[in-house]
């Protein structure tokens, strides 16, 4: 549902006649204020529009750089691939071409790293890989990461961005919601800290599983977060939705999110939360 919406939005952006004389690849248009921005300037500004403050989606590598201390990230070596359970034509081919295009293995990267010297297990999703959708590989990688956090007794941090369960893998994608959730009960029993950071957009089966289960749930300003897309809800209930529905700010107000944190403060906030809970543990 939401994937559909996002794809449409992207398509409409692409289809607009933006063939003004711009050197391809150096400039990018802000979705919100429509301003043309120099990519280098955007990069320096942590992928936030310098004109209107709109948050751009971040590539895994950029996010890692923003959150994890330099040279401390070690990815888990899990070389796995989907078995294509529905035998979808072109699906394996499509995955291959996205891998080549994005330089990503899948829609999530998982490993260990340090945040101001504090070791954590971290998972980061990427909307550039089939809209961050969760199939068996994403489910398995996240579950494995949770198990590693338990084994190493480390805090577990996840940055979400997703359209939801991956349609191409059908019911098996749906089952990954239960798989990751069940693994989180073990993390909970082990008494380890779990922080989720919801970024724009987080939808569907990801919202309805690990994204909503953090001990502490943070979100980036303006992030859209929900289960079903707004159009679908409106059509189903036959009523228009309240202003700001599904924004991080709205969810904070209604108690679903603990804090909205600006991108520049994320690392420090997570670090403080880890410190705080560490002390708690030593006291008890």
């Amino acid at each position: 549902m939401i994937v559909d919406k996002i794809k449409k939005r992207e398509a409409s952006v692409k289809n607009k006649p933006s063939n003004i004389d711009i050197p391809i690849g150096k400039w990018v248009k802000c979705d919100k204020c429509k301003e043309i921005i120099y990519k280098e300037e955007l990069r320096k500004n942590q992928s936030i529009c310098p004109n209107c403050g709109n948050y751009f989606r971040m590539h895994i590598n950029k996010r890692l750089k923003l959150i994890i201390d330099e040279h401390t990230y070690k990815k888990f070596d899990l070389n796995i691939e989907t078995s294509n359970p529905l035998n979808m034509e072109d699906y394996t081919k499509k995955l291959k071409s996205i891998r080549e295009k994005t330089g990503l293995e899948e829609a999530v990267a998982c490993g260990t790293g340090k945040i101001n010297g504090e070791e954590v297990v971290i998972c980061i999703m990427d909307s550039g890989f089939l809209m961050g959708s969760m199939g068996v590989v994403v489910g398995e990688k996240i579950t494995y990461a949770i198990e590693q956090a338990i084994e190493k007794k480390l805090p577990f941090i996840i940055f979400t961005v997703s359209g939801g369960a991956r349609m191409q893998e059908g019911i098996i994608s749906l089952m990954q919601m239960a798989k990751t959730t069940a693994a989180l009960t073990k993390l909970d029993e082990a008494g380890l800290l779990y922080i989720t950071v919801l970024t724009d957009p987080t939808y569907g089966g990801v919202t309805a599983s690990f994204a909503s289960l953090g001990d502490i749930i943070l979100a980036e300003p303006g992030a859209m977060i929900g289960f079903a897309g707004q159009r679908v809800i409106e059509q189903t209930i036959g009523e228009s939705l309240p202003e700001g529905f599904q924004t991080a700010e709205f969810l904070l107000e209604h108690g679903f999110i603990d804090k909205i944190v600006e991108r520049k403060d994320l690392k420090e906030t997570i670090y403080k939360l880890i410190q705080f809970h560490k002390r708690d543990k030593e006291d008890s």
């Binding site: 529905l86 979808m88 349609m167 749906l174 990954q176 239960a178 209930i237 939705l241 209604h254």
Partner: protein
Amino acid sequence: MEQKKGDNGEAIAKSMFEMAKLKVPIISIVIGEGSSGGALAIGVANKVLMLENAIYSILSPEGYSSILWKDSSRFEEAAEKMKLTAKDLYNLKVIDKIIKEPNENEEEDFKKISNNLKKEIKIIVSDMKSKTAEEIVQDRYLKFRNMGEFIRRD
């Protein structure tokens, strides 16, 4: 309507989380059309049974074709592709047992189906009786932990 303020994603997540921890056996039975998070929210069970003609899927075929092919009129094709029948799901190890449904949907059949179901529930309950609470939780955990096959690359 109030529940819509927060959407229902969190409710699904919490329901699955609690089910995964429950210390008694859980049996879920798909009796009609089960789809998406709403079905899974009550589907984290030790044993998942399914009536022979029921369906269980990631999304309705209409929604599925609309998302994947941007064309909801291709729902028949989607239904073929999605592996949503009891037999398909049994082969994918998503469900544990298919409950036979005789041919017609008449009162007599309903009794037969109910009896079949009763028999299966009795078997599961008596099997589970000898298990400790920890074993029951672990049994359920492993069922979902191993959900979905993947290929290891070298």
